[in-house]
């Protein structure tokens, strides 16, 4: 309700502003229908979504604002109103200040989140939506200071926003490895908004003829809660009689860097982050709440190359838990690869694309072929499929969710 009021208010402000300065206020956006059907079982619709996405922007040399409300209508639920971004900019000669709800993106990788830890993810439909829809805006104050081709960016986020997980009955709800249906205790699941619970991020970036690079750091809450488990055991039979799962977010400290550089016709890129304070699930019985704190590394190397007009890209990603011990539910090293091939035809009216995540530990994959056609300027028809391979792992767990979909989108 509060959200609806906020949006209504903002829209009213925007429209009042429009009346005063119609020539400068830009209204852009898109209307889209997205229909997906599962290819297995009873061919149920996995999604039927109608979207109106609006962007109101006004720019001048010194100030700017942007408001980006969206409206989703689903066939099986009520309207969903949201605000992807709503911020104000103050622009000075060598620095900018942006205050409000905003998406902040770090790193050089594509489709992978390594140092990109500022904006949390909306995983209601796993990793399938467009990335501007997966990344949620956070309420923050951001200051960018510029000198030459370098930028120093500081972000203060006073309010923590966690990962948006799928609903309990959603087909995209990840598999929980519990021996029995647990009882959830959400008493510690929320982070109280307060000064001491703020998140801080710092980034230095440089763009040059030799290479582009970024150095980033952050002190923030883990967007994904750790599951603290309490077991109820019958003292007589010693049988497990109940499980209580208490999700709780914990502080993480991260330092990382990324770069991309041309090497002949190839773009080489790398990105890595060191995370301290992560709690992993463990099956070691002597650990009472089934979590154990370990630092970990997350890194990537990637290549991009164009061959006969086909844009090709490959990335190799690893997550490496340091000081690993038996019982931790995650593998010590988990390796993933991504592949992309993309080519346009008919003077960029027709695009063919194939993107794939391949999990090397579990031999699972998500393969995403797409074909899109520009029926008219701004009007695109996209046909695609999401094919899950394997029976376990990050992608294989959704093996029953293979789907084909169509998106009709009109941008204005």
């Amino acid at each position: 309700m509060k959200l609806k009021i906020a949006i209504t208010t903002l829209l009213a402000i925007v429209f009042m502003g429009q009346a005063k300065a119609q020539e400068k206020l830009e209204i852009t956006g898109y209307a889209r229908n997205y229909t997906g059907v599962l290819t297995g079982g009873d061919n149920e619709f996995s999604i039927v979504q109608n979207t109106l996405n609006l962007k109101f922007e006004k720019n001048s040399n010194k100030v700017a604002f942007k408001v980006n409300p969206y409206l989703h209508h689903y066939f099986d639920s009520d309207l969903e109103l949201g605000l992807r971004e709503a911020f104000l900019d103050l622009r000075f000669e060598n620095f900018d200040v942006r205050v409000g709800k905003q998406q902040i993106i770090y790193g050089k990788s594509e489709g992978v989140f390594i140092t990109d830890v500022v904006s949390p993810k909306d995983l209601k439909e796993f990793l399938l939506p467009d990335f501007d829809e997966i990344r949620m805006g956070i309420t923050a104050a951001k200051v960018n200071y510029y000198f030459g081709n370098s930028t120093v960016e500081a972000v203060w986020a006073p309010v923590f926003t966690p990962t948006q997980m799928p609903e309990m009955n959603s087909i995209w709800r990840p598999t929980m490895p519990f021996p029995m249906a647990p009882t959830y205790d959400y008493t510690t699941a929320k982070i109280k908004p307060s000064l001491e619970n703020s998140e801080l991020f710092l980034r230095f970036s440089n763009m040059g003829s030799f290479a582009d690079f970024e150095i980033v750091g952050g002190y923030f809450w883990d967007d994904d809660p750790s599951m603290h488990i309490t077991k109820q055991i019958n003292p007589i039979t010693m049988q497990l009689t109940g499980l209580t799962v208490r999700p709780e977010h914990h502080r993480l400290t991260m330092g990382g860097a990324s770069f991309s550089m041309p090497l002949g016709p190839t773009i080489v890129k790398a990105e890595g982050g060191y995370y301290s304070g992560k709690l992993f699930q463990t099956q070691t019985p002597t650990i009472p709440d089934a979590t154990i704190e370990r630092d970990y590394l997350h890194y990537l190397v990637g290549l991009e190359y164009s061959l006969a007009g086909i844009m090709l890209s490959a990335q190799f990603i690893q997550e490496n838990i340091l000081d690993y011990e038996q019982g931790i539910r995650n593998d010590e090293i988990e390796s993933t690869m991504t592949f992309l091939a993309k080519k346009s035809f008919l003077r960029e009216k027709l695009w063919l694309e194939l993107f794939a995540y391949v999990g090397l530990n579990n031999k699972d994959a998500l393969i995403r072929p797409k074909v899109s056609y520009g029926f008219a300027d701004g009007f695109d028809i996209l046909l695609g499929a999401n094919i899950f391979v394997g029976d376990k792992g990050r992608f294989g767990q959704y093996n029953a969710n293979d789907m084909v979909y169509v998106k009709l989108k009109y941008s204005f």
């Binding site: 900018d96 990344r135 763009m207 991309s260 007009g309 960029e348 300027d377 701004g378």
Partner: protein, 259 residues
């Protein structure tokens, strides 16, 4: 004395004859160098409107704003896409080096909210679905081709040199080009592009040009792919020269904040 006078007259005649000959018989290389070195100002800004017309007469339009700055060593260009709506606020930046180093290119996609470095080794790719390749839109250095003056010719009332240019590198997108260069201002008025089978592929025609802020400037040009009967017209408007575009225009900040 008389002999001396005759000798002087002969020398004067010979010298003036050589002199006239040197003006009339510029080599193809010299003509193309004059085109390449035609002063264009240290910086240029303006709007660019591109109309694509297919063989059924259907048209699509793209609009951009661009800034170019050249300090003699690096030419920096940034383009902001204004329309169509699905590419609005995308920006593209290119740094081109006079020493032959490969170009650096970046693109900012507003949906991804970050600047990405992209491979610049795709100069044969067509720009935004038009009939211009990235290479057609750039300045090709005269030393990359061998040039031969074919003839002099008058087209549209303009006296022109006609120069054939053959690439020195193998595998270049064109087997040769033929350029009509106006004698009075060394602007290329027309150019024919031949494919790898030496068949005419495209014809570039300058439709409008003028002196802007003291520099000859092309204001309208058309590229006609004669094999596919597809045309692209580019019009430059609100062109300004030497207005002192700051270096900060060609940065990550500028790409993300827009035009």
């Amino acid at each position: 004395m008389r002999t001396k006078t005759v000798t002087m007259l002969i020398i004067a005649f010979v010298v003036s004859g050589f002199s006239n000959q040197s003006v009339a018989q510029l080599t193809g290389q010299q003509v193309i160098e004059k085109v390449y070195n035609n002063p264009s100002g240290d910086d240029t800004q303006g709007n660019l409107s591109m109309t694509l017309t297919n063989n059924r007469g259907e048209q699509r339009e793209r609009n951009l704003k661009q800034y170019i700055k050249d300090d003699g060593k690096v030419e920096k260009k940034i383009m902001y896409f204004l329309s169509p709506a699905d590419v609005r606020n995308t920006s593209f930046m290119n740094w081109s080096y006079s020493d032959g180093q490969s170009d650096n290119q970046w693109i900012y996609l507003p949906a991804l909210k970050r600047v990405r470095r992209i491979s610049s080794d795709s100069k044969s790719d067509y720009f935004m679905g038009s009939d211009f390749t990235f290479d057609d839109l750039g300045d090709r250095h005269p030393n990359q081709d061998s040039h031969k003056l074919l003839r002099e010719e008058t087209i549209d009332g303009k006296e022109c040199y006609v120069v054939e240019s053959t690439p020195k590198e193998s595998g270049y997108i064109y087997s040769k080009t033929i350029t009509w260069v106006m004698k009075d201002n060394y602007l290329g008025l027309k150019r024919e592009f031949y494919d790898d089978r030496s068949t005419l592929l495209k014809v570039l025609t300058i439709k409008n040009y003028a002196k802007i802020d003291g520099f000859w400037t092309i204001l309208e040009t058309e590229m006609h792919n004669v094999q596919r009967d597809h045309k692209t017209t580019i019009k430059f408007t609100e062109v300004q020269k030497n207005k002192g575009i700051p270096d900060s225009r060609f940065t990550e900040r500028s790409m993300t904040l827009g035009s």
